[in-house]
Symmetry: C2
Subunit: 359 residues, 2 copies
Amino acid sequence: MPARKKTTISDIAIAAGVSKTTVSRYINGKQNMISAAACKRIEKAIHLSNYHPSAVARSLKTQRSYLIGVVIANITTPFATSLLHGISMGLRDAGYNPIFADAEDSPETELRLTESLMSHQVDGLIVNTTTEDNRNLIELSNAGTPIVLIDRFIRDHNFDIVLAPYSKPTIDLLMHAHNEGYRHIAMFTQPYEENSPRETRLNAFVQCDNEAFGVERPMEDVYIVDPWDANSAGIAIKKLIEKLKGDDGKLETCCILATNTVTMIATYNAIREMNLTIPDPIGLCGPDDWGWARRMGWDWSATFGKGISTYETDPEEMGKEAAKLVVKRIADPNGQKQQIYTPTTLRLRQSTDLKHTLH
Amino acid sequence: MPARKKTTISDIAIAAGVSKTTVSRYINGKQNMISAAACKRIEKAIHLSNYHPSAVARSLKTQRSYLIGVVIANITTPFATSLLHGISMGLRDAGYNPIFADAEDSPETELRLTESLMSHQVDGLIVNTTTEDNRNLIELSNAGTPIVLIDRFIRDHNFDIVLAPYSKPTIDLLMHAHNEGYRHIAMFTQPYEENSPRETRLNAFVQCDNEAFGVERPMEDVYIVDPWDANSAGIAIKKLIEKLKGDDGKLETCCILATNTVTMIATYNAIREMNLTIPDPIGLCGPDDWGWARRMGWDWSATFGKGISTYETDPEEMGKEAAKLVVKRIADPNGQKQQIYTPTTLRLRQSTDLKHTLH
DNA sequence: TTGTAGGCGTTATCAA
DNA sequence: TTGATAACGCCTACAA
């Protein structure tokens, strides 16, 4: 099956017996400038040849592509899934299409992909960046490219950005633990360098551990966990237990704040393997960005034990907001940069219900 | 910050004191046709102005974009995520970029997006289609567009396609249930019209129920479940139980085959809520396309009860293969259409371990 | 209401 | 080794 040559606007013009200009007008909805007769003939010609205008030629001429480049730090997470879905819906509503690129957690890859997207004339960028220190994006932004960051910020430069308000709910969770009577808190986190949401949560933790729990060096209550390594969480738990042992050998109570859902699950499994019980002496809580699971009817956080206390983020909503924001910035390039915070919902469940359990 | 005009090949030509042609040659790696001096000047000019060639103009001229359109039926599943990741990696290795579109399970959306992708001169298409009966793709294919289907086929037309071999492992699982001594089998599936993998699994089930279990009307052992509806699985379980009640009121054993991971989890939860035990009298098994979870160190299928019997698919590998295949088809448009089956791994766990449990 | 002509940023052809 | 020049398919003054 040989590839036929594509039909172009000229073909239609000839077939309909009019000029390219007229056809172009027809395509762009300016039918009120065209005689009914011509309209008919053009319509027919287009239909017969099943002609589709070339977005490429149009982009070249108009310098607009109606394409938005979407760069995701790592697509292999449930968070990214919901994000993409939201972005996709939001852009479509505004007549734009996403070109999507997966940086695979590599700043170099992110740079390369971003350049590729730019050379394809994308009208704007939505970026979930791998790097807090992203010179390239700052340059692009300075050069006038509409850019919206999502979930991760960039230092030393003012960007449009969509965020979940991680600090507040983190503190809410920790204060709840405090009120429940936990003696200690601990934070289990993936490496947090260059990753602003984790940093934000860390800061909230440190502040709370210091102020509410009166701990002098709260960083000592922070444990680095690699959920990709099956043993990592177990090792952290062992270290934690050592610290919690009282003089009588009994464990003091401690509520663990996990940095994200995946870390939380790894931690949960580790706790169970150590034959420790939840919520006493160990409590567990953290963010829940697995909206997709809920949407599928699976409330995962209720499946583990008797339920894990979480705050739910809404990545899909974040995606939608980001989409709206780029489109807005394209229309109004010099408008004020915006920070949008999408709402979060606290869900207190058994995993931190120390008071009740003590009786 | 006003958007500066973009620098073009002409700017570079002027700055370097050469012609556009020479610059073009430089860009395209034909530096051996250029004098060392000119090379130097061009390099310098490009560097100073941080010039990036326009992929759009190039596409228009060469009729190649190095863009592959990727249409996914529904991105809101972990399966799709892994798929995308695989595609993304595979394409990148070959110098192509994915433009990705989410059809949101709607054939109309799929059509619209596909047309949009085509008008952007994509060199090929990778499609996880919503519709078995997809006239549009057949036409495009006939017109010479390189298309690779992934996970879902299209009736009445020969396409390049990447599939998991659902039939064989489904039968393996069911025969295993038979050998374990289950008296009945049942299938819990999402609606399967227009969805080839589910259909394939259904056919395998029907055949097995008939031949191995001697059931006359195997379709009566098929239950439609909507995992998005929390009650749906529960209702199906109740119906099933009615059928399993023997004369003495005791339940006969039955192994449930779930159609996919999400349905399986919904089913698992429903079984537990009914206070039924696994694997006796109810067994549970099905496919596992949650590779991402394992990659994150969470072997989910071991987390539920004492482990669920599954066969693991490898969506990431499927994506990679699809990427390789489009690229190949672009290079060799008239080559034989291929069907690629990616491997699958059987994991037998406690949820179907009836024999052992009986003692 | 319609058409002509020029150009968007490249590459390809041909000649020098 | 280099460079004019003509496309690629479309849009857009400007003119008729």
